[in-house]
Each structure stands twice: as structure tokens, then as C-alpha cells.
């Protein structure tokens, strides 16, 4: 109870400090007052966006949200569909590891954002950002799944063999369940990177909507209230997706008897 109280106080203090900073700039007649709008005005902008589209782009905020979520969702599903089998194979088969590891090591250190220009050219303004998100999620998932597959207790594999399990059954019934906690870690890390990727990619591909596009346009029009409101929405969406992942994680652990 004590710590909850402290946490609430901490949040109150943060908002108060923000408000005081704005008040100070207003008092000084400083241009900074524009860059640091008051919490109340950002709140008003947020509610205003829920009621009607902004005057510059004219697309309702929920459409921006939907377009970012859609691209993240597609990139996420594609990344999982490829990273899980690749990670399992690379973690369990020497040959797959020998083939895959050097290529992965070449591409992994390149930040996904470095691919934005070329991906936008090749894949366009919808699939380009999807491809960036894909890259951002693919590597953390691949690496965590590979790590999990490598650390499977060998006695469990031996036990499965003596119970008559063939290669495929061992993958399906031993290796894969064993790697699920690792996969969940990869997913949570990947989702954070995914949001980073989508916002950045949408800022560059200045068309077609999306939250990154929205905050960039608001900043261009010096509408910092709406811009901050957009940032708040990004933060909330990102926290929600991570929250959903956490919920799925605890549900899976419960089903597996591992909670």
C-alpha cells in the first residue's frame, strides 16, 4: 500500500512539474511555452482528436491508429511465422546453424531503421513499413527461440526417444514447448522494437496515415498540443500490445502448469 501511494504521488509530482514548467515559460512570455504545452491543453487536444479529425490531414485519429496497428500486426505475424521455425532449426541442427548463423550475423547489426529508404522504394508506403517492422521483430524472436532450443535439457530428449518419439515428435512435443518462455521474451522485446520501427517508417513515408505520420505533420504545423496527444496515444498503444503479450504469456504458462 505504501509503495502504491508513493507511485501515485510520483505521477502527480511529474504532472505538477510539467504544469509548472509550462506556467514558468508562459510567465516569461517565452516561445518555449509553445514547445511545452500545459498538461490540460494536451488532454483537451486528445479529447478533441477523439471527437473530430485534425484540420490539417483530415483523417480521424482512430484511422491513424488502425493503420499503424495493421502494419505492426502484419509484420509481427510474418516475423513469427518465419523466426520460430528458423530459430528451432538453427538451435537444434548443426547444418542449419552453420548455414544461417553467418547470414544472420551480417544482417543483425544493421539497425532495422537503416532499411527504411530502400524498403519504401521497393515495397511502397504500405508494405515498406511492414517490412521494417518485420525485421525489427524477426531478430529478437529468432535469437530467443534459438537460445531456448539450444538449452533444452538433453535428458528430456533422451526420455522422449526411449518413449518412442521420432525426430518430428521430439520437435513438436519437447523442443517447441521448452522454448515457449524464450519465445515470449522475444515477442515482448520485438513488440517494443516494432513500435519504434513503425513510427520511424511512417515519418519517412509521409503519406497514407499512421501515428508516426500524424505526429510529424502536427509538428510541421507547430500544433504541439496535438503532437503530444499523438505521442501519448503511441505510448498507450505500445503499452497495450505489450500488456496483451503479457496476458497471453501468463495464460500460456498457466495452461502449461508453469505459472
Amino acid at each position: 500500500m505504501f509503495h502504491i501511494t508513493v507511485s501515485i504521488l510520483s505521477l502527480v509530482f511529474f504532472v505538477a512539474a510539467w504544469w509548472a514548467l509550462n506556467a514558468y515559460f508562459e510567465d516569461q512570455d517565452s516561445v518555449n511555452a509553445e514547445y511545452v504545452p500545459s498538461p490540460g491543453s494536451v488532454w483537451d487536444a486528445l479529447w478533441g482528436l477523439m471527437r473530430e479529425p485534425d484540420p490539417y490531414v483530415g483523417i480521424h485519429i482512430t484511422e491513424h491508429m488502425a493503420s499503424s496497428l495493421e502494419r505492426i500486426g502484419i509484420g509481427f505475424v510474418l516475423a513469427l511465422a518465419l523466426a520460430i521455425p528458423a530459430g528451432l532449426l538453427m538451435g537444434r541442427m548443426r547444418l542449419a546453424h552453420a548455414v544461417g548463423r553467418p547470414i544472420v550475423e551480417v544482417f543483425r547489426p544493421i539497425p532495422p531503421l537503416a532499411w527504411i529508404p530502400i524498403f519504401l522504394i521497393i515495397f511502397g508506403i504500405f508494405w515498406g513499413p511492414v517490412a521494417i517492422v518485420f525485421l525489427g521483430i524477426f531478430f529478437p524472436v529468432l535469437f530467443n527461440v534459438m537460445l531456448g532450443a539450444r538449452s533444452v535439457d538433453p535428458t528430456l530428449v533422451d526420455a522422449a526417444k526411449t518413449l518412442g518419439a521420432g525426430r518430428f515428435a521430439i520437435f513438436e512435443k519437447v523442443i517447441f514447448p521448452y522454448t515457449i518462455p524464450y519465445l515470449m521474451t522475444g515477442i515482448k522485446v520485438g513488440l517494443g522494437i516494432g513500435w519504434m520501427c513503425i513510427v520511424a517508417a511512417e515519418m519517412v513515408a509521409a503519406e497514407g496515415g499512421g501515428m508516426g505520420y500524424f505526429i510529424l505533420v502536427m509538428a510541421d504545423w507547430s500544433d504541439f498540443e496535438r503532437m503530444y496527444a499523438g505521442m501519448v496515444i503511441i505510448g498507450v498503444l505500445s503499452a497495450l500490445t505489450t500488456g496483451v503479450a503479457g496476458f497471453v504469456e501468463s495464460y500460456v504458462y498457466k495452461r502449461m502448469g508453469m505459472d
Binding site: 526420455a159 518413449l163 514447448p177 502448469g257 508453469m258
Partner: protein
Amino acid sequence: MRALDDFNLDVAEGEFVCLLGPSGCGKTTVLRIIAGLEIKSSGKVIVHGEEVGETRPRVGMVFQEFALFPWRSARKNVEFGLETKGMPESSRAELSAKYLELVGLTGFADSHPRELSGGMKQRVAIARALANEPDVLLMDEPFGSLDAQTRNLMQKELLRIWSATEKTILFVTHSVDEAVYLADRIVVMTARPGKVREIIDVPLQRPRDRTSREFIAIRGKVLAELDEEFEKARAKELSPD
């Protein structure tokens, strides 16, 4: 490095044989070869007239570390082998219930391994191996990580299960006391590379009394054999070759 050399052993159907020897003598390797988990460089393993090799023999194995799948309930652990055989769910449930009852865990069918004590985990592992209806049950120091009380209880339980199922059991242990308590015959192995040094019959009625004169006499004999091998193993360790 040779783990085993000239290792010959015939085990009769329904017999309980213990393998005993200094650590690193290849006791576990014998079991792993029979289970098809390790490839032998030469020699033959014949189970029920069928050579172990391409065809996996019908053996079950119980490990010291239990090796239960932590994400499966006791029942689902027992059904693992049946699932891989493609047995329909109703027959699987029937068999798992039967073997969980045999090991005295009917009330814990839906518990997961982390909710079970060491002794209970090993009961699940035994039921899991038996549910596959193997010809031979291989046990690799199965009670090695249990406390002394549980260990004694599990030895009694194993003998009960053995007489109920009439399985052939090959049991690796470090404990002379355990071997004399359980086995029809005790195979004392030499230090690495492991050979059969001596096979000692244990012609005592079960349940055996650990404090009886006959029990102590056999234990003394086994210990004497084993001590010599321990000395040899130590001498080998100290002299570089």
C-alpha cells in the same frame, strides 16, 4: 576412449539385475546402449531375440533426474509414449489411469511435476516408462537424488511394482545396500573400460531384512569386490597414461 570392453551379460526374462561399479566405469553407458541412446562401436545387444540397432527395442528408461516434461501433468507425462504411437485418447486415458494407480498416484493425475515431491516424480517416471509396455525396464540410479527415507520407501515400492508387472529390470546404482536389497543378481563392473568383474547371486527371500546375517554377508562380499575396483580406478587416475 573406450567406455566398455568385453562386456557380456545375459539377463533372464523377469529378472532383476543391478549393475554396480566405480564411477565412470560405464554402467550408464550399458543402459544407454541398450536403450538405443548411444551407438556402440562393436558388439550386439539382443532383447527378446531381436538385435538392437535399426529397430528400437521395446525398453523403458527411468533417469536419475526424473526427466519429466514440466509442462505436462502427471497423466500427460504417462501418456507421452502412447501419443507418439498414435493411440486414441480413450485408450490412452485408460492406460495412464491404470499405471498411475499402480504407482499409487491416482489422486495426482492432474498435478504438474513442480507440484510433486522427488519420490512422486520418480513414480510418475516409472509409470510413464511402464505405460509403453516395454520388455525391459532400464533404471539409471533412479533413487540417487532422493533422501534416505524416500529412497527406502521407493525401493519397497519398486519391488511391489516389479512383482505386479513381472518386468525384466536392469538397475544401475552406486549403493551396495540398494543392490543387495533389490537384485536377483548383482553385476560388479571393473574400472574403465568396464567389464564384468563378478556376478553375485542374491538368493534371499523378499522382503529382505537389511540387518539379517545373510544380507550383511552378501553386502560384505560385494563391498570387498568393489573396493578393489575403487582402488584400481584411483590408481589409474593418479598415474598419467
